[in-house]
Symmetry: C2
Subunit: 314 residues, 2 copies
């Protein structure tokens, strides 16, 4: 089994997903200090803000951490320069062509991981020479694939064609799920929602409380005509749904979405009018916990499951 | 761990999903003879046809088998009478209120399982006194839940609230997935797509070939305004998608669907104009195999995974 603990020099094969508006230096350093791999989510940061977060993270932890960079913003070159200059050793790229920066980053000695949500881009990322891929299933929060392929299917589909470590993301809400993903060939997991709702997350308290309150069937993959994104049910989501049912065009949906909706909801706490990105795991989160507790519960759950399955035969 | 092998008196904790147009006596008896639990799918059978299939199944196997009855047809009373009269010992009910027939069937000594796709109905089924539930995730073929909850999430969500055996369905396409589902607390698995594409399935050869040809992202949950159903991509599906994008009403979709579309596609082989119900597992099926081979590969994959995970610690 390929193990990401060696690749990243971490204790546990747990990566905290780099999320917009949730994962600043506080969350990333807490995860790294607890033995996982923390990621600063650059997607919601201007370059100078990212620089500050990297510097604070270095002060807050002596353990490895990384930065997640969605490859869809005009300042990506600038962001990569900051990452190199600040000596960040691990970069997760997402939402773009993995060929574009992989060689550049690897030449600087940086470990590169690309996030994908389907088989086609997983193969492309492998071909581009990344060190590992994250495979993100339909149940994951935030931006997602058009294929709607679930984590369980992705892992079965990729096992025989991907020869670098696969990090399973989407739907990992317990140590048992972590064990299941690794039984399916994953070398580790990336977890978003559990950490988005942690004490150290920079998400607004009102958003965290809404995650805790969410039950089964309260998140939906939405805005599929633009870029599919999993949102928590709220009045804004309902508006989008109605518009879609009425045959709204891409242009109308783009206008309805407007600018800054995720910030409004997730960071500023306008839970009615904001865009609230979270995974289906929201349905099983019932408390806002500190990161060290989340990680120790994951490890305990993993061990318990390993014990239950030990020697289990048909 | 609650085990369904004892509940059903079978060798392996593998249930073949009762599917329309695929699972007649030939498939059901083949699965039962190979050590799983075969189910005749009553959903596509008039009562007298079901009676013939039950009689043929009894001749073809001495092992336990069952019948899947979707509780949405007017002849359900008649179907239940046939089941009792023919001495069928196991009934899986779906798509309706589990309270309606559970007591009646259990009084006749029949083991009752209800198929659910969300937490709410799983709890209702447990309350209704069924012996086990099937929890069917978003990735499953055919009719599905409005919640779009995946198998991985459902299992994590139900583990602590369901005290009867949980049979995991949706996305189980390998022995590793079976092991993963059981690590997540399932007492067994229900498998549809793999068996729909088996040699003994009564699906039309052209449909089976189309399943084999399907890759990642070629099935979609469709017709959500009516009853969500996972379909293989084809010209009919494309028509539905276009109608939905144009804001089609329920009435327009009902008219577009018409009558007998599943039969046309799955049984008669009109793969362009028919409705082709199949799960995301279609993306990993690359051959039409006999049932005994499918089951022996599942068991071998399970054992291999169990071996890999044996003693695995973090």
């Amino acid at each position: 089994m390929k193990n990401i603990t060696e690749l990243f020099h971490i204790k546990y094969p747990i990566v905290q997903g780099g999320m917009i508006w949730c994962s600043g230096w506080e969350l990333a350093s807490a995860v790294s200090n607890a033995g996982g791999l923390g990621l600063i989510g650059a997607g919601s940061m201007h370059p100078e803000i990212l620089e500050q977060h990297i510097r604070k993270c270095k002060k807050a932890t002596s353990k490895p951490f990384g930065v997640n960079v969605p490859l869809l913003y005009p300042q990506t070159d600038e962001i990569m320069e900051i990452i190199v200059r600040e000596g960040v050793k691990i970069v997760f790229t997402s939402a773009g062509n993995p060929k574009k920066y992989t060689t550049f980053l690897k030449e600087k000695g940086i470990t590169v991981v690309h996030v994908t949500a389907n088989k086609k881009f997983a193969l492309k990322a492998q071909e581009a020479g990344v060190d590992a891929i994250v495979t993100e299933g339909f149940e994951a929060g935030g931006h997602n694939g058009f294929e709607e392929t679930t984590t369980l299917i992705l892992l079965q589909m990729l096992r025989d064609v991907i020869h670098i470590p696969i990090i399973a993301a989407g739907g990992i809400g317990s140590g048992a799920a972590m064990f299941a993903a690794m039984a399916l060939g994953a070398a580790g997991v990336q977890i978003g929602s559990l950490f988005a709702a942690s004490q150290e997350s920079s998400a607004h308290e009102a958003f965290k409380q809404k995650i805790v309150a969410a039950g089964d069937g309260e998140t939906y993959l939405s805005l599929k005509q633009l870029v599919p994104v999993r949102l928590l049910h709220n009045p804004f989501f309902e508006k989008v749904r109605q518009a879609e049912l009425n045959g709204a065009t891409k242009e109308e949906l783009t206008q309805l979405l407007g600018k800054g909706r995720a910030k409004k909801g997730m960071f500023e706490g306008d839970i009615a009018r904001g865009e609230l990105e979270i995974g289906q795991v929201a349905g099983i989160i019932d408390d806002i916990k500190p990161v060290h507790q989340i990680i120790s519960e994951l490890i305990a759950g993993f061990s318990e499951t390993a014990g239950e399955m030990n020697g289990f035969l048909l």
